[in-house]
Structures are given as structure tokens and as C-alpha cells.
């Protein structure tokens, strides 16, 4: 347990220090969402209808932006070798790394959502619905994205490949995340149905992600 806590503490600390890059994701999220109203124009009802989709797309792209550093940094400085050799099971270490990444890069997106909801003319209920779906959905983006990050770890400049690998896996999360938020704003489906499926996807990714990432790390090292 202390080993995993130490790993999470270290990764969060590095991400939050200068040059760690945790805030790049939030800044990107902010830029995308702030620019949308200018592109769409002053049609306020349209903005409300598109709001959840815009927030979700912004969050998805922002989480992709920092994902390639998840294992790459540790691979480059040799830390990954020692983590693989360590007595902590690699699956748990991967899960700890993903959790730390989500705390530093995913959670700030959820926190920023209420502010950005104002720009998209979302009322309090709609904003909290989007924030709730993001809270449940962004861990799934991190944990499935981790598989791609582990596959691309030995490739230099693997960022683009990572996006191509990960995007298809994040489509279901996007569909049900937006569907649940839309259900609150326009109906007619109840919020619970897509939201439960979103929760299920997250739970599956918590199990599959660490195992797949650990397997690909073990075979990919050289």
C-alpha cells in the first residue's frame, strides 16, 4: 500500500510542479469552450443544446493531450524499468499511475465545468448534470487511454499514434456521457439510463485498463 501511495504522491507532485503540464489540459479545455460561442454565433438556444457536446468534446481532447506523458516520462528516465522490476504488481502500479494522472489532469476539468457552463448558457441543473457525467466519465477516458499510452511508450513522438489508438475506445464514453447530459436538458429519455451505462463503462475500464497496460508494458520493453 505504501508503495502505491508513494507512486500516486510522486506523480501528482510532479504534475503540479513547474513544467509538469497538469494545467495544460485545463487551459486547452478553456480555450476550446471559450471559442465555441464565437464560432456558433449569438444563438442562445442552439448554444444550450450543443453545450454538453462541446464540454464533452473539450474534455475528451484535453485528456488526450496529456495522456502520452503517462508512461513516456518514466520510460525516458529509466524509472519504468525499476517499476517493472519492483515487488508491487505491475497492474496495481499502472492503476496507481492512472489514478494520479486523473487526479492531476482529469479532476481539474470537472472542477472547471461549472464556470464554462456559464459561457454556454447552461443553467444550474444542466451544468451539474454535465459535471457529474464528466466526474464519472473522465476516469474511463484515462483508464482506457492508458492502454494506448502503454502501447506507444517505446515510440518517440508517439502522441499522434496514441490519439488514433485511443479515440475509438473513447467513443462509447462520449456517446453515453453526452446522452446523459442531454437527457437532463431536452429529454425525453430519463437521465438514469445512459448514466448507468456510463458508470458501467468506467467500472469495466478500471478492470481492463491496468491489466492491458501492464501486459503491453511487459512485452514492449527493450
Amino acid at each position: 500500500m505504501t508503495a502505491l501511495a508513494a507512486l500516486i504522491r510522486r506523480d501528482v507532485r510532479i504534475a503540479l510542479r513547474v513544467g509538469g503540464g497538469a494545467l495544460i489540459g485545463v487551459l486547452f479545455f478553456l480555450t476550446v469552450v471559450v471559442l465555441m460561442p464565437f464560432a456558433i454565433g449569438p444563438d442562445i438556444p442552439l448554444l444550450t443544446r450543443l453545450g454538453p457536446a462541446i464540454l464533452w468534446l473539450g474534455a475528451l481532447l484535453a485528456s488526450l493531450l496529456t495522456l502520452d506523458r503517462l508512461f513516456m516520462a518514466d520510460h525516458e528516465d529509466g524509472s519504468l524499468d525499476l517499476i517493472v522490476m519492483g515487488r508491487t504488481p505491475l497492474e496495481l502500479a499502472c492503476a496507481a499511475k492512472a489514478l494520479a494522472h486523473w487526479l492531476a489532469a482529469g479532476l481539474p476539468l470537472v472542477v472547471a465545468t461549472p464556470v464554462l457552463g456559464l459561457l454556454l448558457n447552461l443553467d444550474a441543473t444542466a451544468t451539474s448534470a454535465v459535471a457529474l457525467t464528466l466526474l464519472v466519465g473522465t476516469p474511463a477516458l484515462t483508464f482506457t487511454g492508458m492502454i494506448g499510452a502503454a502501447l506507444a511508450v517505446t515510440l518517440h513522438r508517439g502522441g499522434l499514434l496514441l490519439a488514433v489508438l485511443v479515440l475509438p475506445l473513447s467513443v462509447p464514453v462520449l456517446i453515453f456521457g453526452v446522452a446523459a447530459s442531454q437527457a437532463v436538458i431536452v429529454g425525453p429519455t430519463p437521465f438514469g439510463t445512459p448514466f448507468s451505462i456510463l458508470c458501467a463503462i468506467s467500472l469495466v475500464s478500471f478492470v481492463v485498463g491496468p491489466f492491458a497496460a501492464a501486459a503491453s508494458l511487459k512485452h514492449g520493453l527493450d
Binding site: 505504501t2 510522486r10 507532485r13 509538469g20 525516458e76 529509466g78 515487488r87 508491487t88
Partner: protein
């Protein structure tokens, strides 16, 4: 405790680096792996560390802890120092101590390698020799019987090399074993394992 390799074969990038290599090291013994660049010294250490899969043969550790695999009982000191530039010297060392599962005093080990004055300095500002000293402090913080060292004395000054020779001697006296790839003399008694460069065909 006895580390032995039988008929080990290593293929990297479709090219055979070495084959039918036998080696052996017992408790209290150091093996210096020597040979020209590209002979497979680092590859051999990474094979023992479980970071590469052997294309043939076997590597075993007899007399270690039965539930643990060989990599779990080994320290690997590679070219890359596994240090995070954003963290301080103490934070770097404390992390590896906690992650690798020990509860020693980090400050004491930093004093041993002569880095106690720089404890709160970010690792980004360390020189190559100081980074090496910090890696050596990691070997001291967590007890592992097998040390796999890749060019351990590179970048160390004369005092650093003497300090490290003392550290290695203590490790051997405590029943540990060392396999070190090196071009320079290690500063301790060591059995030489000479590797030849193979220029050659596809595997």
C-alpha cells in the same frame, strides 16, 4: 546464494548479440562484465533484470527467497538514473525507498554518498556525478541481494569511486553479489566475464 546462466542467447532487433553464454556468481562475489562497445554487456544485465526476454537458455538464482523472482531481488543501476528533475534529491530518494519497500533513513544514506548538503535541491541541478551518487544512495536505501550495475563508476570523481568501492565491498561482505558491466576497473576484486563483439549475420 548463486546466480547462474546456462546457454543464454540474446537477440535484439533481429540480430544475435550473443549466444550460449554461461556465467556464474556466488554470494560475496563480484563479476565484471567487460568487452567492446556493442558486445552485449547492457543486454546481459537487462536479461538478468528481466527487462529483456532471453531468446534461449535460462537464468536462475538459487538460494534466494523462494516466493520472489530474480528481478524482485535485484537492484538495477542503468545508464538512465530514474530521477525526476522536478523533485528534490530527498524526495527522489524517499520515493524509491517507499516504492521499493523499505523504511531506512534517507538522510543517512545521502550523507554516505556525500549529497546531504544538497538534500533539498531539485534533481535538475545535479551534475552527472551527483546523479550517479544519488542512484547509489538508492542501492543503499533498499536491501536487495543482487546488484546489476551498468557502468557504475562513470562520471564519478576519484573520491566517489573510492566511496563506491567501499559500498560494494560492504555489500559483498553482507552476502550480496554484484554483476557489473564496466570499462574502468571497479576498484574491488572481481572475476572477469569477457564478451566478444560478434559482427554478424541475422539470427
Amino acid at each position: 546464494m548463486r546466480l547462474s546462466g546456462r546457454g543464454v542467447r540474446c537477440v535484439r532487433g533481429g540480430r544475435e548479440v550473443f549466444s550460449s553464454l554461461d556465467f556464474e556468481a556466488a554470494s560475496g562475489e563480484a563479476v565484471a562484465v567487460t568487452g567492446p562497445n556493442g558486445a552485449g554487456k547492457t543486454s546481459l544485465l537487462r536479461l538478468i533484470a528481466g527487462l529483456l526476454a532471453p531468446a534461449g537458455g535460462s537464468i536462475d538464482l538459487e538460494g534466494g527467497e523462494a516466493e520472489l523472482t530474480l528481478p524482485e531481488q535485484a537492484h538495477y543501476l542503468g545508464h538512465r538514473d530514474a530521477l525526476k528533475p522536478a523533485l528534490s534529491v530527498l524526495e527522489n530518494l524517499s520515493f524509491w525507498r517507499d516504492f521499493l519497500g523499505s523504511s531506512g533513513d534517507a538522510g543517512q544514506n545521502l550523507a554516505r554518498v556525500g549529497l546531504d548538503h544538497a538534500m533539498h535541491l531539485p534533481a535538475a541541478f545535479l551534475s552527472a556525478g551527483q546523479r550517479r551518487r544519488l542512484s547509489i544512495a538508492r542501492l543503499l536505501s533498499v536491501r536487495r541481494p543482487v546488484w546489476l550495475l551498468d557502468e557504475p563508476t562513470s562520471a564519478l570523481d576519484a573520491a566517489g569511486q573510492a566511496m563506491f568501492a567501499g559500498v560494494m565491498r560492504e555489500h559483498l561482505a553482507a552476502g550480496g553479489l554484484i554483476v557489473a558491466a564496466t570499462h574502468a576497473p571497479l576498484g574491488i576484486e572481481a572475476r572477469e566475464l569477457r564478451m566478444e563483439l560478434r559482427i554478424g549475420g541475422a539470427a
